[in-house]
């Protein structure tokens, strides 16, 4: 990254699940960041999450508790300072629970709600919050899955969209416009029908 973009980069070991350490983690950074992007997430296996409470808890904590904890600490710092941008990568999976991945989806739903609340709280405090709702992205998380090419973004597309959203102070972004439409439809299917279909 340093070579490609002529920027200086420093790495800091971080465990989202070790929530007790988050205050100290932020305090020990060489300088408080101007922009914080949270890309932590864990898909897990839905079938395993259904069988095993501990696995389900891990998915929930990785997508909700951990990200929320670190962003809460950063949010307080940013609020004190009166500036900063927080970007949370949530997911379209959080828009409506589906049989195939609702444990992950429910945690993302919680995370999306958290980001929305945080934005509401800090909007008058000079701190901007961006919620990113990607559809499919070709990463490790989805490797080996048979995803429709037209709906699947490259990680660099997500990165470009985030950079634009930060510059233009966007609140909620989808990547690839088609997903806004898809989610509009999914959101509006009556529950009576939704419960019968497999998507």
């Amino acid at each position: 990254m340093e070579l490609r973009y002529e920027v200086s980069v420093s790495l800091h070991e971080f465990d989202a699940l070790a929530t007790d350490s988050h205050e100290a983690f932020v305090a020990e950074l060489p300088e408080p960041p101007r922009i914080a992007v949270c890309a932590v997430g864990l898909m897990g296996q839905q079938a395993e999450s259904e069988r095993d409470v501990a696995s389900a808890a891990r998915v929930m904590r990785s997508n909700y508790e951990g990200p929320v904890s670190i962003l809460a600490v950063l949010a307080n710092r940013f609020e004190e300072r009166g500036s900063g941008t927080i970007v949370g990568i949530s997911s379209v999976a959080g828009v409506r629970g589906r049989a195939t991945n609702y444990v992950y989806g429910s945690a993302k739903a919680g995370f999306t709600a958290f980001l929305s609340g945080l934005r509401n709280r800090l909007s008058k405090r000079g701190v901007h919050v961006v919620t990113v709702l990607p559809g499919f992205v070709a990463t490790q998380m989805t490797e080996g899955m048979d995803l429709p090419a037209k709906l699947t973004a490259e990680p660099s597309e997500i990165a470009d969209a985030i950079a634009r959203a930060v510059e233009r102070k966007k609140d909620v972004i989808y990547v690839r416009p088609i997903w806004r439409l898809i989610m509009l439809i999914i959101r509006n299917i009556p529950e009576r029908i939704f419960k019968e279909i497999r998507i």
Binding site: L3, R4, Y5, E6, Q140, E143
Partner: protein, 441 residues
């Protein structure tokens, strides 16, 4: 998954692995009986496909070190040439050798030992390679260079992935003052004139010709010869000189779907080619062109391979020795014009000297053109193979998707040596592609 090269012919069902770490890669080499590395899939045919295990190298794409004193970049094989340009052109560096698309990986450029418009002066890609690291069938990584383990180096450059997996390389970039090229266009009414223009332009840094492969008779070989030099600061307008490495980025067009095959018949090609030549004729002379339009005109049309329809396209590229180039090219172009099956994209280029174990270029001329895949064009390609053989020429494996092993052997005595080298290192059963099997390499 279904996998093909850039020509989308042939399409094969293959298992693809996408390692993100050296350890995963090492495990794959240890566990897969046979495999082949794949870069960005810009070779036209089946050279980067192994149906059992194709190793997509694009995640191993770190840039590791750059020395601004020498211009040496050390990077992993999955880095794209376009990424190198994006990172280093603004600092005044450009690849020494580049093919006609920037969407190739470093590994692919090395494995095919690609050539650019400056081959007559600067040679093939190997000219800028200081060393490479290659993982062998035993999972061991060996660093080789023209000095250390020159045998492995020589066989890997141009070895089409058949001597192991290229992991990293140190390449030298060339210093440039601006992002612009001073392009001079000459109209050559026939082949003789085009070749004379190349011979007269031996000192030009870049030279290439677009050739109208449907022109026949006295117009046979009618071409626009394009020469280029890196522009200096003094060549730029005052506005350009303010930001000499900046060009306005163009809107990318993309071909959203396969066009029906009839869009590309000899009539449309003939009309296009004639128009292009006339337009070029009027625009002869010198002008400034930005690097992206100059080196990569086709990259502006994403997915242009789709204009050839669902059946895909086949490229033909041969190199002919200097003393038999004129006769060979005349015979090839006559055959193509007679069949009326040409393409928009026919390119003629003068090659300089090349001395290597299995790289494609040889001193002389190279002709490259596309055909839609149909039974008729496949038969024409077989005839072009024979003409090339009869004139002592050989074929570019990065473009090939249909040649026979007998043709390869007849064209290139080095093929047997290459096979023997592979055999003696136990590579023949371990590093194999659909192409290497077809060609019995």
């Amino acid at each position: 998954m279904k996998l093909s090269g850039w020509g989308r012919y042939p399409v094969l069902e293959a298992r693809v692995h996408r390692p993100r770490s050296m350890e995963t890669l090492q495990q794959l080499v240890a566990s897969e009986p046979s495999l082949i590395a794949r870069g960005n899939g810009r070779a036209y045919g089946d050279s980067a496909i192994n149906t059992c295990a194709t190793i997509d190298m694009r995640h191993l794409n770190r840039m590791i070190a750059f020395d601004p004193a020498s211009g040496q970049l050390i990077a992993e094989a999955g880095v794209l040439l376009g990424d190198i340009i994006a990172a280093f052109l603004r600092r005044g560096w450009f690849p020494l050798v580049t093919p006609g698309t920037k969407f190739v990986t470093l590994g692919g450029a090395i494995a095919a030992d690609v050539h650019g418009k400056n081959h007559h002066r600067d040679g093939s890609f190997r000219s800028c390679v200081d060393w490479i690291e290659v993982m062998g069938a035993d999972g061991q990584v060996r660093r080789c260079s023209p000095q250390d383990d020159p045998d492995l180096f020589d066989h890997t450059l141009g070895g089409m992935g058949l001597t192991g997996i290229i992991l990293r390389a140190a390449i030298r970039l060339q210093p440039v003052e601006t992002a612009w090229i001073r392009q001079t266009t000459l109209a050559a009414p026939n082949l003789k004139a085009a070749m004379a223009a190349f011979e007269a332009a031996q000192d030009a840094t870049y030279s290439v010709a677009w050739i109208d492969c449907l022109a026949a008779g006295s117009n046979l070989g009618r071409s626009l010869v394009m020469l280029g030099e890196h522009a200096g600061r003094a060549d730029l307008s005052p506005r350009q000189a303010l930001a000499p490495f900046q060009i306005t980025s163009k809107r990318k067009l993309s071909i959203p779907m396969d066009l029906p095959a009839f869009t590309l018949n000899s009539l449309t090609v003939r009309a296009f080619n004639a128009l292009y030549y006339r337009a070029g004729e009027r625009k002869t002379g010198t002008r400034l062109v930005d690097w992206d339009s100059y080196f990569y005109p086709l990259d502006a049309i994403l997915g242009w391979n789709r204009i050839y329809g669902r059946k895909g396209l086949a490229q033909f590229q041969c190199a002919l020795p200097l003393d038999r180039s004129e006769a060979g090219l005349t015979a090839l172009l006559s055959e193509i014009a007679k069949a009326g099956a040409g393409s928009f994209l026919a390119v003629l280029k003068r090659f300089g000297k090349q001395d290597s174990a299995f790289s494609f270029p040889m001193e002389g001329y190279t002709l490259a053109l596309d055909f839609p895949v149909t039974p008729k064009t496949l038969a024409l390609l077989d005839r072009l193979d024979q003409i090339t053989l009869a004139h002592g020429g050989r074929f570019y494996l990065a473009k090939d998707s249909r040649m026979t092993s007998a043709t390869l052997r007849a064209s290139d005595p080095r093929a047997a040596d290459f096979h023997a080298h592979r055999d003696s290192h136990g590579f023949t059963s371990r590093f194999t592609s659909a192409q290497s099997e077809r060609l019995a390499l």
